[in-house]
């Protein structure tokens, strides 16, 4: 499935796509694949303030539970309500299935994130493949 070049990535396997000050956050195909069948996504509420690098929720599969880390700081403007009843959508297409949208507080934070190329290299080093 790969990693879209226009996204930025965290080492905790979230992606963010940005237009102006509006960010959309999801998890990467690599982490959905290693988690396997996702059964529950726990998300913050609209209006919550997120801080870069801090936990904002969790994603739980049959096998394991994994924390979600915010790529940037900002205020949550929407959460993907579909995932309440259909969390498996993340497995089906992690690149397109967003978890939440937020308004960026400081666009400079994006520079600390990984490019698709850097993320792919990071993952291959992590897995040894």
């Amino acid at each position: 499935m790969g990693y879209p070049a226009e996204y930025r990535y965290t080492k905790e396997h979230e992606w963010i796509s940005v237009e102006g000050t509006a960010g959309t956050v999801g998890i990467t195909d690599y982490v959905q694949s290693s988690l396997g069948d996702i059964v529950f996504v726990e998300l913050p509420r609209v209006g919550d303030a997120l801080e870069a690098g801090k936990i904002f929720g969790s994603v739980e599969s049959v096998k394991a539970v994994s924390d979600l880390y915010s790529p940037v700081s900002g205020e949550v403007t929407a959460v993907n309500e579909e995932l309440k009843d259909a969390p498996e959508k993340v497995n089906a297409d992690a690149n397109k299935t967003w978890l939440l949208k937020l308004t960026l507080k400081d666009a400079a934070e994006l520079e600390k994130l990984l490019t698709a190329e850097q993320y792919e290299k990071f993952v291959s080093e992590e897995t040894g493949h």
């Binding site: 694949s33 290693s34 396997g36 069948d37 059964v39 529950f40 969790s58 739980e60 599969s61 049959v62 096998k63 539970v65 497995n91 080093e125 992590e126 897995t127 040894g128």
Partner: protein, 380 residues
Amino acid sequence: MAEMTATLRKTALNATHRAHRAKMVDFGGWDMPVEYSGLVAEHMAVRTGVGLFDVSHMGDIQLRGPGSLAAVQRLCMNDASRLAVGQAHYSAMLNEDGTFVDDVVVHKLSDNDFLIVINAGTREKDVAWVRRQVGAMPGIHINDYSDFYTQLAIQGPKAEATLQKLTDVNLSAIRNYWFTWGKVARLYNVLIARTGYTGEDGFEIYIPSDEPTSGRVWSEVLEAGAEFGILPCGLGARNTLRLEAGMALYGHEISETTNVLEAGLGRYAKLEKGADFVGREALVEIEAGGGPKRRLVGLEMMERGIGRDGYPVCAVSGEKIGVVTSGSPAPFLKKNIALAYVPVQYSALDEVVAVEVRGQLVKAKVVATPFYKRAGTKRP
């Protein structure tokens, strides 16, 4: 982890698993497939059709000679004198204090020949234990045959129809926990046992562990099961299947710190079998003292949240009273279930307790195990 890969043990099917892009994990020192197409799909295939597992990491100790029955009786808590040739049963090797060295399946190959199937992660310990406990007894020969067998588990309501295509042995005549030998996939004298660890009907076959043979039989079973939607399955599905079926896993429900009675496996400990076995005295004492103080129970989560291995179990007041030993969403039952140790006073059915899930108390109810029981079988 990458640098550890070189030291992991591999089954003869390792290259096959990797070629089929299975997700591999370190399981008890073994590089094993945890998942092929997906845990839930694999779990459902076993419940509704058929699945194929590589369980070659399991160990095999053979005790032979005129003293072998006496040795098995000394080592294992169940009564092997009641086994007929061609029959197997669940049993365990215990420490002096009634805790588990390992849980095992004992197969009676002949009057003077027993095969004990042991867990992968405990192999060295088990072999050393067997030699220490019975190595000096007269008339026995102990062998570790673990590396000589590729063990395949074919499990599910369509397991018999699948395997039947590869053998002339009348599989429907093999009863649950019995076995025979026969030609399978052009291999002579394959041990075919109607055993498994999924709560479903099925077979385990023991074939030579060379790579070409193992790979060939693996492929032939998959071909034979294709019309039933067979899926190659990983240890992830094996774990959720055995959990739904309420079966204990070594290192979780049973270990060196849990005894047979609290684990609810007392029915397999034949205290009156007429032979002293290691751990017997401790079990007699625990029973005489009013039974165990804690018990393994089944829990069903009543609220959103999944109790996982190691999570604390609390009274609804919040006081910590026990611990989850295995917990997961149950793919077939579509409930979140767990096995947990709780004090006896909290172990009655319908008792409401709580599991501390990442800092939050989530209510759970004590329910009967097995969580899942397959419908009546048509076997003789």
